[in-house]
């Protein structure tokens, strides 16, 4: 499965456009991670607990989009975009979407 942010894939021809596919994930940090992140926020630097949280949500959302594309018979997703929003304090939401296509 090819995932790309561009609308075309060099060297490949889009033979079929299947349609919009998307995946989203909302993940939370447990209390321990939250406490450590709040303490780190006092002294500055990277809040690795939240970096990790966002990365987890990003990868899960990507996998969900890919699974939907696969289930619909696509072998690539073009024009992939990411969006995020805040659902709750200490939780991360990532939405990823793109156009599922078949390339030859």
């Amino acid at each position: 499965m090819i995932l790309t942010t561009t609308d075309a894939i060099p060297g490949k021809t889009i033979t079929d456009t299947i349609g919009l596919v998307r995946g989203s994930a909302v993940r939370g940090a447990h209390l321990g991670r939250d406490v450590m992140a709040k303490l780190k926020n006092l002294v500055g630097g990277e809040l690795s607990e939240y970096t990790k949280l966002l990365a987890e949500a990003r990868e899960q959302a990507l996998d969900r989009m890919q699974a939907e594309a696969q289930a619909r018979g696509a072998n690539a997703v073009v024009g992939v975009r990411f969006a995020s929003s805040e659902i709750d304090d200490g939780a991360a939401e990532v939405l990823v979407y793109g156009t599922a296509v078949r390339v030859g």
Partner: protein
């Protein structure tokens, strides 16, 4: 020297994890996944590997420092003691709260709703925690660092 050949189920799990199973075989495999915990563990292990392979970026300079810090006895003791004291304090406060609720001079119309609130919250938390612990082995994303 002989290498162990993958079993049919292992091959099926690999094909499933890679999204290479066609519709009828995939549906059949998913029905088996719902019934067979061992097969779910197999697919989870493959997803773990796949996710780890995605984390191909080289270590950052600060990572070496963080790792060295994590090995230092002083740092480990400080973190362990800090977390232990925090948890002990929270548990003691919760226990004191329950004790106060039970012995305080409260009208029944106040006491029992509070007891219900506390008990309900505890039961719900227990159910949520049980669900998390049950699904934890099938959550490969928890191993992602950045």
């Amino acid at each position: 020297m002989s290498e162990r050949q993958p079993t049919r189920d292992e091959l099926l799990a690999m094909a499933y994890a890679d999204g290479e199973l066609a519709a009828p075989a995939r549906d059949e495999f998913e029905q088996r996944l719902a019934r067979e915990p061992a097969l779910r563990r197999e697919v989870s292990a493959l997803r773990d590997l796949e996710l780890l392979a995605r984390q191909a970026a080289p270590k950052e300079l600060a990572d070496h420092e963080w790792e060295a810090l994590a090995r230092e006895p002083l740092q480990r003791a400080t973190l362990g003691l800090g977390a232990g004291l925090l948890i002990a304090g929270l548990l003691a406060l919760a226990a004191f709260g329950v004790y106060t609720l039970l012995v305080a001079e409260l009208a029944p119309l106040v006491r029992w709703p509070l007891v219900a609130l506390l008990l309900g919250g505890t039961l719900l938390f227990g159910a949520v925690l049980r669900g998390r612990l049950r699904t934890l082995p099938h959550d490969p994303y928890r191993k992602i660092q950045r």
